[in-house]
Subunit: 265 residues, 2 copies
DNA sequence: AACCAAGTTTCATATACTGGAACAGCCGGT
DNA sequence: ACCGGCTGTTCCAGTATATGAAACTTGGTT
C-alpha cells in the first residue's frame, strides 16, 4: 500500500523538489537544495535535471543556480484563468470594494491553507500578481475559518490536523478545540470574523462562496482595522458580501461550460 | 542516451498531461483528455489521479471535470517573483510607457516561443495576470526576432526549426532564410521591428535585455499602430528603450543574490 | 603539488510504472 | 425490465525505469 499522505510516486517527489525551489524564494544552488532535501545527491540531481529539461526549472549558468522556470508562468496563466474563481469574481470584488471602501480578499483552500487568489484594495489599485498566490494560515484568518466551517467532516478533520496553531496575538485560537467551537458558531451565523487573531489591529468579516449544492468554492472577506471600524459595523456588511458571493457562485457555474454544445467535431 | 527531445521519464509524461489540461482552456472531462492523449486509458487515469492528489489538478465532482489546480497558482507566484524579470522590470516599464505614451511589453523566451511576462498599457492600467503568461510566435514579433538574434548558433538553429512560419499578413517572414537574414540586420542595428508581420496595422520596436556577459535575458518592446505613428518615429525611441533594458539587466544581476555571503554554515 | 568541496556519471538492484483487459455505473432505447 | 453503449475505475503480471552508494571529474584553495 502506498502512503497517500506522503508524496508517493516519482511525480510526487519531483513536485516536492519543485516546491522546495519555490520555497527558497531566490535562485538556489545545487548544494543548497541538497542540504534541505530528503533525497540523496544523485537522486536530487536527476530530478533537477529532468525539471530543467522540462522547463519547470531554469538554470543560470553564470551563477550556477536554479530558479522556477517560465513554463510554470505559462501554466499559471492558464490555471488562474480556468481554475480559480478570480476571473469571474474580479468585477464583483471591485464593486464591493468601491462600495464599502475597504480591502476585499478572495481566497480558496489549498491543502489546509488559505490561498489568496485575488485582492482588491480600496485605495491603491495594485497589479494583482504581487498579491495573488500568497498563502496564509487557515485557523487564524477570517476566510480560513469560514472555509473550514463549510468542509465535510472528514476533510475538515484532516485540515485541522495540519494547523500549526502558532499564537500570533492574544486573540489567536490556540487549539483545535477552540477552532472547532468557533466553527460551530460560524455555521450558525453563516459568516465569520477575524478578531485580530493574526495581526493586531486587523479585523475582517468573511463569508463562504458555495455552489447551489453546498460545496465550498472559496471565501470572500472585507478587511479593515480597529482604528477605522469595529466588528458590529463589519457585521452589517455581511448581507452585501453574501450578495457578491452568490453572484460569483452563480456566474462560476455557468462560465465553466459555455455549455459543451454538440459541436460535431 | 535518452532521447531528450521527447518527454522522457515519468515526470515528463505527467507534465505533458498537465500541459494538455492547460491547453484545453476550460475544465475537461476524462474522456476529452483521453481523446487528445497519446496514453492508454489506464495510464492517463493514473496520471490524472496523481496530479489531482498533488494539487496540480483540481477535480470538480459536480461536473466531473478536471482543471488546473491551485498549487500551480502558488508556484506561479513564486516563479514570477524569482525567475522572471517582471518584478525588477515593472517600474522601468511603467516609466517607459508613461514617457512614450505607448504600450510596453516585456518578454522572455520559452522554448522557441515568446512568453509575455508583463505588459504596461499606456492608457488602461490592467491587472497583469490577464496579460502575462500569454505565448506568441517568435518569427513574426518584434521581441521574438530580437531574442532569436541574440541566441548562440546552436540554440538558434533549434529555435528556428520550431517556427511554424504561418503567414499572418503580407509582411510576415515566411521562411527560415528570410528570418535569418532579418536576424543579421537586427544584430547590426541592435534592435528590431515588427512591420505589421503579425497583425495588420500593428508595429513595434524591440530591444534585447542582455547580461553584461552578453547572455540573453529577455526583450523589451514599444508597440503602436500605423495610424498613430511610423517606423522612423519608433526607431527614435530605441536609445530610450536601451536605457531601460540596461537598467533592468543591472538590477536583475544584483537582485538575484542579496549576495551569498560566506555564511559558515 | 596536494587537497577539498561541489557537481556529475556509473551501474547493479528492485521499485513502481505500464497497459491490456475485465469490471462497475449510468443512461436512453426497445 | 432488459439490453446495449458509453464513461469512468480497478486489477495484475511483466518489465521498463527510478534508485542511491560509490567512483569520478572539475575547479578552486592551502
Amino acid at each position: 500500500m502506498t502512503d497517500a499522505s506522503n508524496g508517493a510516486g516519482t511525480v510526487g517527489k519531483a513536485l516536492e523538489v519543485l516546491d522546495q525551489v519555490a520555497t527558497f524564494g531566490r535562485p538556489a544552488r545545487f548544494s543548497e537544495l541538497l542540504a534541505s532535501s530528503r533525497f540523496p545527491k544523485a537522486t536530487l540531481y536527476r530530478f533537477i535535471q529532468t525539471l530543467t529539461n522540462e522547463g519547470m526549472l531554469a538554470y543560470d549558468p553564470d551563477r550556477q543556480t536554479y530558479a522556477l522556470g517560465v513554463r510554470l508562468v505559462r501554466l499559471a496563466h492558464a490555471a488562474w484563468e480556468q481554475s480559480s474563481l478570480a476571473p469571474v469574481a474580479r468585477r464583483h470584488l471591485e464593486a464591493l470594494s468601491a462600495e464599502v471602501g475597504e480591502t476585499v480578499h478572495l481566497a480558496q483552500l489549498d491543502n489546509a491553507h488559505v490561498l489568496y487568489v485575488d485582492k482588491v484594495n480600496a485605495h491603491t489599485p495594485l497589479p494583482m500578481y504581487s498579491q495573488a498566490g500568497k498563502i496564509g494560515p487557515a485557523y487564524c484568518t477570517g476566510v480560513g475559518k469560514v472555509m473550514l466551517a463549510y468542509l465535510e467532516a472528514e476533510p475538515l478533520a484532516r485540515a485541522v490536523a495540519q494547523q500549526s496553531f502558532h499564537v500570533f496575538t492574544p486573540q489567536t485560537l490556540a487549539s483545535a478545540a477552540e477552532l472547532l467551537s468557533e466553527i460551530r458558531v460560524i455555521r450558525e451565523n453563516g459568516f465569520g470574523f477575524d478578531r485580530e487573531e493574526h495581526e493586531p489591529g486587523i479585523i475582517c468579516v468573511a463569508l463562504p462562496i458555495l455552489t447551489p449544492t453546498g460545496r465550498l468554492l472559496g471565501a470572500l472577506s472585507v478587511t479593515s482595522s480597529t482604528s477605522r471600524t469595529g466588528l458590529p459595523a463589519l457585521e452589517k456588511l455581511a448581507p452585501r458580501i453574501r450578495e457578491a458571493a452568490t453572484a460569483i457562485s452563480r456566474e462560476a457555474a455557468q462560465w465553466r461550460f459555455p455549455d459543451t454544445p454538440s459541436i460535431p467535431a
